[in-house]
């Protein structure tokens, strides 16, 4: 083998005073970054293998480890920076597509951080959530434009099926296979406890989780893995996945190494076989085909469950969303370009799709202009980091959001972006039983519930500050937002005024 030109990305600093050579780090690191150096007669590290997941740093009983960005720098060049040079080395060595995990990490504008919220002063009292009820309950699904009530006050109209959320935050699609059994269980438990929903991704639903059916959104994606009548029956809603924000336009690939017995049973594929989801659904080549699939699912589920359609935010997302609404979907999930994933080609992750903030505003505007906004709910996802992102998404026009990366971080993810290797030291994106064991599903669920609780308190505080005591009054209420440092075009697309206006 020829010499690799690649230099380490990180440097592992071991405090020799503190390290007592217990060797725990050797046992823990699935990337084998630590080993016992026979020559040195002590535990040493191989910087090249370190992915900076910080598992050893957190677990070292002596706090002897620090991982830092490697100080080695190429000669300064603004255009040919470290990443572009190293990527070429990698491809010159392997001849392959660059792979990565998680979401777009490039320096595109983060519109969340360029929008600020309003608060009441004098003319309108702010409402104190500690003293007054503050309501976050949200319904997702098709709404009739009007209700009929007879003069005795009885409801005559029939309500289409709705998802009922106690907090306008759901967990986004993550399959059993891409994440571990324990991580999956934690999401299901937390969704049930918090009164929201988790999403199976394209990985089927393990029978152990049938009890969570009322909080489960099952996904039907291009590979149809794990899809059967029983699967559809054990759900609150069904999501047709057309695309995802991390890799719009391409399919998915779960490597055979991650397909063990349980994953194999759940996905209905042989053990050890690659699970390849094609780029398009092979029965959807146009919007009318989508309509057929939507109604096939509705027929199968007796029109008792809302059908979601998930798409990546791309250039003409507004027109596509309008088509989806007209095709009969009850909920549209729009996934922005910051969305994470277990594995994506780097070039696609970093260069395809548009920011979710702009997509929400464009879709909301379009559906309103066409007078069909009530026919469909909008769920925004792809990089929601905190409660103020949630508030801003709803003020821009979303009905609710989904979080996935944030949920993984709550469980322990340290964003090393190596999910696709299946070696997750935190037991989240791995199927290795030894690693999976590291994630206690109850503890992880508690952390997720805590996160949702914390966000809901923050959302209530911010709502109260705006003089609002029910989340529906924030929906599409863009007067509550002002932009900072945005161009006129950006302000126009977001439909907001500049701060000071």
């Amino acid at each position: 083998m020829s010499l690799s030109f690649l230099t380490p990305e990180f440097i592992v600093l071991r405090d020799r005073e503190r390290c007592n050579n217990c060797g725990l780090c050797i046992k823990l690191c699935s990337f084998q970054a630590h080993y016992y150096g026979e020559k040195q007669q002590r535990v040493v590290s191989d910087d090249k293998k370190c992915v900076n997941c910080q598992y050893c740093v957190v677990k070292c009983p002596k706090n002897a480890l620090i991982v830092k960005k490697h100080p080695l720098e190429f000669r300064q060049h603004d255009y040919w920076n470290d990443t572009s040079i190293k990527d070429i080395y990698k491809q010159a060595e392997t001849g392959g597509v660059l792979l990565t995990g998680m979401g777009n990490d490039k320096k595109f504008p983060i519109y969340w951080d360029k929008m600020v919220l309003n608060a009441s002063q004098v003319t309108n009292p702010s409402i104190d959530p500690l003293r007054e009820p503050m309501e976050l309950k949200t319904f997702l699904g098709k709404k009739p434009s009007r209700l009929e009530v007879d003069n005795k006050g009885n409801l005559i109209s029939h309500m289409p099926p709705q998802l009922e959320l106690e907090i306008p935050v759901m967990f986004g699609g993550m399959s059993f296979g891409s994440i571990s059994y324990n991580a999956f269980k934690a999401l299901a438990t937390a969704a049930k406890e918090a009164g929201t929903y988790f999403n199976t991704g394209e990985g089927g639903l393990h029978r152990d989780f049938y009890d969570f059916a009322d909080n489960t959104i099952v996904q039907v994606a291009s590979g149809r893995f794990g899809v059967n009548q029983e699967y559809l029956d054990h759900s609150a809603a069904v999501e047709i996945k057309i695309g995802q924000g991390a890799k719009p336009g391409i399919g998915g690939h779960l490597p055979g190494e991650k397909v063990g017995e349980e994953v194999s049973k759940t996905r209905m594929i042989p053990i050890g076989s690659d699970a390849i989801s094609p780029a398009p659904h092979h029965d959807i080549y146009s919007i009318e085909d989508l309509r057929q699939l939507i109604y096939a699912i509705k027929e199968t589920t007796d029109y008792k469950k809302p059908v979601l359609v998930k798409i990546a935010a791309v250039h003409n997302v507004a027109a596509i969303a309008s088509g989806i609404a007209r095709a009969g979907a009850d909920i549209i999930v729009i996934d922005g370009f910051r969305a994470g994933t277990g594995a994506a080609p780097t070039r696609i992750r970093d260069n395809v799709g548009i920011p979710i903030e702009l997509a929400i505003a464009a879709v909301d505007d379009r559906l309103k202009d066409e007078g069909i906004r009530n026919q469909v709910s909008i769920v925004a996802s792809g990089g929601i980091r905190n409660s103020s992102d949630v508030i801003k998404a709803i003020a821009l026009g979303a009905d609710a959001v989904s979080i996935a990366t944030a949920a993984l971080v709550a469980m322990g993810c340290h964003m090393c972006q190596k999910c696709y290797t299946g070696k997750c030291n935190w037991g989240i994106t791995t199927q290795n039983p030894e690693l999976v064991k590291r994630l206690d599903p109850d503890e992880a669920a508690r952390r997720l519930i805590n996160l949702l609780r914390a966000w809901s308190i923050e959302i209530k505080e911010m709502l109260g500050g705006m003089g609002i005591n029910a989340i529906e009054s924030l929906k599409g209420n863009r007067l509550m937002l002002r932009g900072i440092g945005l161009s006129e075009v950006e302000l126009k697309i977001l439909g907001i005024s500049h701060a000071g206006e």
């Binding site: 003319t123 409402i127 009820p133 309950k137 109209s157 309500m159 005591n469 599409g476």
Partner: protein, 377 residues
Amino acid sequence: MLKKEGQIRIPAGCAISGIMNKKGKRFSGEMIIDSISVMHERSNGLGGGFAAYGIYPDHKDSFAFHLFYDSKVAQRETEEFLKKYYDIELAEAIPTRKVSSIKDSPIIMRYFAKPKIDELYKSELNEDDFTVKFVFKVNNGIDGAFVVSSGKNMGVFKAVGYPEDVGEFYKLENMYGYIWTAHGRFPTNTPGWWGGAHPFNLLGYSVVHNGELSSYGSNREYLRQNGYKCSLQTDTEVVAYLFDLYYRKHKLPVDIVCKILAPPMWDEINRMPREQKRLYKSLRAVYGLGLMNGPFSVIISTDTGLIALNDRIKLRPLVVAKKGDMMFIASEESAIRAVCENPQKVWHPRGGEPVIELLDKTVSTYIEHKYIREVTA
């Protein structure tokens, strides 16, 4: 330059008052002027107005259009437009008297008119929708023209000034109605535009409102999708259109309409019996964008009654009283006691609990002279 109402959103605090004779007996506008003037401190002279029902018995089957014009050009254009679609029975200036504090009066006209049958037929609309369309076209399409009110046998009288001065300006002591509402405004800006004063009216509905809707942005968008253009950027306009949408267009019972505008909390809904719970859940799911959030007290008047409503947690004052056939609603109890010495019942409705008082079915046009007092001309 200061922006006109409609170009900018102006928060305002207010005084409101409403009086009704349940038997439909008509009484002079002096009573409501006396009531609202007690709450002088609640307004700042930048807007006052009145809505009166039963004032035009001689033209009760025609739409009574009250209009403000900034110029003769606007007047000419609007009158041509009106003539095209309506048969005009009578066009005249609304009588006013000079009052030192009321300045920069626009041209103030009223027209009693009926839609032309062939135009109505062509439009495939009913008389009310036809008229709503006409009002929107004038208000949004003709520069310098503003339809102040467009109901039948009723009218709105408003101006920039304190309400008691506005009442004097319009000689309301000589007008007789069975329902009166009044408004004194405390805007936080100085628009100086007469159209921006309240009450706000559409067809037979008039709204006086004290509050600032924090849900304004959502409500406005929702109304836009339902064909209403909020040209004034005021909350009051939103209240009127929401009421029109639910009551007239969706034909919902009036108590249900109130429960959409100020719905019960989820805690309360969860305790309801099954069918009622299903209704309220559906109302909130479907009509969530019609929820009026933030502080408000509002009086909605129609030709058949009065509705008083507070926001869900009563962030603005609202008092109701009754004596005999008379019903009183006001921001402050003092405004009721000023015109009704010993009310039989006085109460503060809870947040979100509407007070709906309808006229008795048989309405007389009798004038109750005991409310008439000597007034200097």
